[in-house]
């Protein structure tokens, strides 16, 4: 026997009825809550296994009493009645789902989908924080490992010291964060940003042999930098020593519409969002507005005619050109007119797009304050950034050497923009030099790029995704370019099927209504049918993490950003040895 059973937790009960999916356990009359995870030790046919079981329903059970209601009624009516020696007959009948089982193979634990059944009347253990953490961590390592920390494994109302992570290699297969208002999405985003920064710090210090992760994080309420309570991303930046800071965030991490309105300490790391009209392509606007075929062909014609100046030309036109159905121009102008009033989309002047590109290709985090933007501006910005980055990686993927890349880049990207980043791009993408003949790197060796899509239903809805949306390609092909979407939404039901079917990791927080719960369960990458009741009782900060590459749906408690920051703020200081080494040099 390899496993110390007492390390699993306290002996709670025995397996009663059930099958490989659902089990009934008869257990002690303890204060059990829905959502708790039990471990069942089984040794059928000499195979030592630990099954994981999640409580979905509870029922009081009195041995030798068929009609509990009648007994309760008698206790109520007959004032002198008692129950003699009943304590030992008071049990809890626990129903729940089998999550899978762990089996030791070749010195390591392997986790399998529920396809076997625990032994007859097998012992059931209830994990105890502080005792069960290590064995659970080991047994579930294949289910919880990764680079990006999300939270800790939740067992009912308590958590075990078992960190739940998302592997960075699966980020390009898109992540969904679903939860109603107040479910904890903002805190989760901040925890994720911190995890990405932590992972990048480890990579830069050579502690992890992985690619860094870049993230373009939309912050619709401007709360990531300063935080909701005490600390924010700015606190992390300030805790870093000079070297770590310049390695991990470069010279800015915060981009905003109005730099002047930024708090002083954040301003040092802030840049203003400016995107020139000539960096916008027709596909970008197709991704955020619905256009009739006539309007789209009019825009395409104008783009072919005027290239990068297409927006300015359209907005300057006074009447429908020949051959264009009457009213088309006005309809298109009405949709594009917001660009004239927009503080961030400018006709000419400087642009931040090349800085965003540099940041994303060097493994950095960008917090994008969109609180002062209109919806359309936010959507267009996300679209332009996503399309620009993906087109560059697409150009890279289609090239054999840097000369090919230059050709591909010129073909796919707006000329002024490409001209401004060409040299840098060659430096990032070239393998062993930046000469034309130098071969190019595989996108999988470049940083993973994660782009947040906030209020996702506004742009990832079936109507827009039916057209020539930028996001349709990304959702299908992002993996090839090592680029993923982080889809944040209050609703699942209104998202397009293309994105839902391509999504491989979902963080399901508390949801608003039955329809969303149903959609969430249908969309989950692993079977979580039967978890309806769980969603109904979820609290703020609790989530169910499902991933196609994992067998087990993982209940996670997302800690408060302030808590994890306080626990780990020491890690951002560089090692002393490094400092002194620099001094000697």
């Amino acid at each position: 026997m390899m496993l110390h059973k007492n390390k699993l937790g306290e002996l709670y009960g025995k397996v009663g009825v059930g099958n490989q999916t659902m089990l009934g356990i008869m257990g002690n009359n303890r204060d059990i809550s829905v959502g708790e995870i039990f471990m069942i030790y089984s040794q059928r046919d000499g195979h030592e296994r630990v099954f994981f079981f999640r409580v979905l329903g509870l029922e009081n059970y009195l041995r030798q009493v068929d009609d509990i209601s009648r007994v309760a009624g008698t206790l109520m009516v007959e004032g002198d009645s008692y129950l003699s020696g009943i304590e030992r007959n008071m049990l809890l009948s626990v129903d729940g789902r089998m999550l899978g089982y762990a089996e030791e193979k070749r010195g390591g634990w392997k986790f399998m989908s529920p396809r076997r059944l625990p032994d007859h009347l097998a012992d059931v253990y209830r994990p105890i924080p502080g005792t069960s953490d290590v064995p659970v961590r080991e047994m579930l390592s294949s289910q919880t490992d990764g680079e990006v920390y999300v939270g800790d494994l939740q067992v009912g109302e308590a958590t075990l010291d078992v960190p739940v992570m998302i592997p960075s290699k699966f980020l390009p297969m898109h992540v969904g964060i679903f939860g109603s208002t107040g479910a904890g999405k903002s805190n989760l985003m901040m925890v994720l940003i911190k995890s990405i920064i932590d992972s990048n710090v480890d990579v830069l210090r050579g502690q992890k042999d992985k690619q860094p992760i870049s993230a373009f994080c939309i912050d619709p309420h401007d709360e990531f930098a300063k935080g909701v309570d005490k600390y924010g991303i700015q606190s992390i930046i300030e805790t870093m020593d000079q070297n770590t800071r310049s390695d991990v965030i470069g010279d800015f991490y915060y981009i905003t519409t109005h730099k002047k309105a930024t708090p002083r300490e954040v301003k040092r790391y802030a840049k203003e969002i400016r995107v020139r009209w000539d960096e916008i392509r027709p596909r970008d606007v197709y991704s955020i507005f619905e256009f009739t075929p006539q309007m789209a062909s009019f825009i395409d014609a104008q783009f072919n005619l005027n290239k990068e100046k297409w927006i300015a030309e359209i907005l300057d036109l006074k009447e429908d050109p020949d051959g264009t159905p009457k009213g088309t121009l006005h309809a298109v102008q009405r949709r594009l007119r917001f660009l004239e009033r927009s503080p961030i989309f400018v006709k000419d002047g400087s642009s931040i797009l090349s800085d965003i590109f540099t940041a994303m290709e060097t493994g950095r985090i960008l917090v994008v304050n969109t609180s002062l933007m209109r919806d359309t501006e936010q959507f267009l910005l996300t679209t332009v950034v996503t399309r620009t980055l993906s087109d560059l990686r697409r150009a890279l993927k289609s090239s054999g050497n840097l000369s090919d890349f230059e050709r591909q880049g010129q073909m796919r990207l707006p000329a002024p923009f490409f001209a401004s980043i060409k040299t840098k791009a060659k430096a990032f993408y070239g393998k062993g030099g930046s000469g034309d003949s130098a071969s190019v790197r595989d996108p999988r060796d470049l940083p993973v790029i994660l782009v947040t899509v906030e209020e996702a239903p506004s742009i990832l809805n079936p109507e827009l995704m039916r057209g020539r949306s930028v996001f349709k390609d990304i959702s299908r092909q992002g993996r090839k370019f090592n680029m993923g979407l982080l889809v944040v939404s209050q609703q699942v039901s209104v998202l397009d099927n293309v994105i839902l079917s391509q999504m491989n990791t979902e963080v399901n927080l508390r949801l608003g209504n039955e329809r969303e719960i149903r959609s969430c369960i249908e969309n989950a990458s692993v079977n979580i049918s039967g978890f309806e009741n769980e969603f109904r009782v979820m609290s703020r900060g609790e989530a169910l993490l499902t991933a196609s590459y994992r067998e087990m749906p993982l209940p996670v408690r997302i800690p408060l950003f302030d808590t994890v920051f306080e626990q780990e703020k020491g890690r951002y200081k560089g090692k002393k040895s490094r400092k002194s080494e620099k001094h000697v040099l």
């Binding site: 030798q64 008698t74 007959e78 002198d80 008692y82 003699s84 009943i86």
Partner: protein
């Protein structure tokens, strides 16, 4: 086992004379059907268990039996007609000696017009009252009840029966005491008030035993004993299964052991 000769040369041979003597005392031999024999076996087993309790160091105050204390007698009323009768009387003597109150509780009391007695109690004392009612015999002061005149075993020989009800939801049950013990400990000659006080003290104890919400109105020890030894349909099914396995192991012919209704999916 078909005859006494089967015992020869076994460890039971020494008991043969006593067995023959006992056989001679069984006066109901002519009606020994399977059911009667099974009932008798159950009774003697229970009495044997009871005897074990009385001779143990448990020292209970009360010893409760499921069923009445009736002893069927030879028609000339000289002695009990079955071995269980002898055992019960011997138990009564032993209980008296040990200071244990032996009582038999029967839910099926066979007392005529018990519901009328219950109704009268309800009318007099009100709803939800806990009551008991002595069913006197001809020997008691005031004589027996005319409703039991034609009933040979009500009251049972050498027993004192009471009807009682501790819950208005339940039909009344009967409880029997050993008459000799009753005469010594409850009945006070020429003093009905003192007798009633003794009865009340006795029933106060029994009533206190009967307040468990699971079996309200029925003594807990009997209820628990019933729960732990009753045969459920599932138990019977398992017993049939075991019986079938044993028959197969013994090489006996296969025989259906399920009840005949199972043949028709009933």
């Amino acid at each position: 086992m078909t005859s006494f000769s089967d015992f020869t040369e076994t460890e039971y041979e020494m008991y043969l004379p006593r067995l023959r003597e006992m056989e001679s005392l069984i006066s109901r031999a002519q009606i020994l059907t399977n059911t009667v024999v099974h009932e008798e076996l159950r009774k003697v087993s229970e009495y044997a268990a009871l005897r074990n309790v009385l001779t143990s160091d448990l020292n209970p105050r009360y010893l409760l039996l499921d069923g009445g204390l009736a002893v069927f007698l030879h028609f000339r009323r000289k002695y009990p007609s079955m071995p269980s009768g002898f055992m019960l009387r011997e138990l009564c003597t032993l209980a008296r000696k040990e200071g244990v109150v032996l009582c038999g509780v029967s839910k099926n009391h066979t007392i005529p017009f018990a519901h009328r007695i219950a109704k009268m109690a309800q009318d007099v004392f009100g709803d939800g009252t806990k009551w008991f009612c002595l069913l006197p015999s001809k020997e008691d002061p005031g004589g027996g009840l005319h409703i039991t005149e034609d009933r040979t075993y009500i009251p049972p020989v050498l027993a004192v029966p009471y009807l009682f009800s501790f819950s208005s939801d339940n039909r009344p049950s009967r409880i029997d005491f050993d008459r000799i013990w009753w005469l010594e400990n409850v009945f006070v000659p020429n003093d009905p008030v003192a007798t009633r006080e003794n009865e009340k003290a006795l029933f106060r104890d029994i009533e206190f035993m009967s307040r468990d919400a699971r079996w309200y109105g029925y003594p807990v020890p009997l209820a628990m004993a019933h729960e732990s030894c009753k045969l459920s349909y599932e138990d019977l099914r398992l017993a049939r299964e075991i019986c079938r396995d044993v028959r197969i192991e013994m090489g006996l012919e296969r025989r259906k052991t399920d009840p005949p209704r199972a043949d028709y999916n009933l």
